[in-house]
Symmetry: C2
């Protein structure tokens, strides 16, 4: 039975997550059983169920940690704010580098979509969290007068969409390199930014 | 054994494709066997293998037909060309309506990604064909002086990426309606277009 988060041992939880992630990449998510994860961790079955209810529960926890890491990295990068355009591009580079650095989590995210309803629900929580964060940042740019007053949600979706698509091209298809992935996403943001930026002369289209 | 395309009976081939597509949606791609498809079609086993080598071969053929339909619809829509911006937005609306109209093909496309290397290869052929077509259209806009001289490939990727992502949100997650999907993709294109459009005064950023 799951125990309260406050009473959980962080190192044990972390170890279970790491063992699960390794196995998901080695054997595939669907070919990995709870038994495999318990054996790899060397913990007892009871210990496992103190932390997680089932395989989807682990997937959900892994994606939560991933979203947290992405958002923390981006938030940490908002230092200067002198130039919102530079900041917009720099932030995207940081985001892609977080994806690139967490290769296993990126691969898990890229591979499991569309497979089953419970999995899609886990993914949707992860994506909704990122979309809300991206939207907030664009709204901030609009509020500051740096961006035009465009519909925010479609732009936030386009950002996550190109990240996801190029991540898949890199980590699943291996059709582009990690650097190509980062540079393509950044280049797209430069073109998009020109559409977002408020006219310096004060006019807006 | 497969027979030459020129000697194939178009109606039979079409019927096999339709039966396969129906089954892929009803039972899932991985739960559908060649046997299921043959039974549904009421043809003999020999007939099936005159047309297709295996299940991936059908998936490939279905996606080829789909790409053809998308490209033909878009090509047919380039009539006036008076205003490249209007044309850019109108074309995107038509593209999304083709996706929306071919609900089963869209669902197949949205569900099978990342599942196995042969499937990913089929998807990649489909996506590469659309990317090449989108790139050609953007290059045309640049050549005509309507669009800025931006790197084309990242923009083409962003277009397919948002189409794919919102298609998945509609047809797999059912998190948005068909109309919301179309409107969000169109709205994104309006923002992107402002970044693509060459400055009318002749300056470019």
């Amino acid at each position: 039975m799951q125990i309260e988060a406050s009473k959980q041992n962080k190192e044990r939880r972390q170890r279970l997550l790491e063992c699960a992630l390794d196995l998901f990449i080695e054997k595939g998510y669907f070919n990995t059983s709870i038994r495999d994860i318990i054996e790899r961790s060397s913990y007892g079955t009871g210990t496992f169920y103190n932390y997680f209810a089932d395989r989807e529960d682990i997937l959900k926890a892994l994606l939560e940690v991933f979203a947290e890491q992405i958002i923390t990295s981006i938030t940490g990068s908002y230092s200067g704010e002198d130039d919102l355009l530079d900041s917009f591009i720099a932030t995207e580079r940081i985001t892609m580098e977080v994806f690139a650095r967490h290769e296993k989590l990126s691969e898990l995210y890229s591979r499991v979509a569309g497979a089953s309803a419970p999995i899609d629900k886990c993914l949707q929580q992860f994506e909704d969290r990122l979309l809300a964060f991206y939207s907030k940042n664009i709204e901030y740019g609009i509020k500051k007068g740096a961006f035009k007053n465009v519909p925010v949600s479609p732009v936030a979706h386009s950002i996550l969409a190109i990240e996801k698509f190029l991540l898949y091209k890199w980590i699943v298809l291996r059709a582009i390199t990690k650097d190509e992935m980062v540079e393509m996403v950044v280049s797209f943001h430069e073109t998009l930014a020109a559409g977002l930026l408020a006219d310096k002369s004060g006019d807006s289209i």
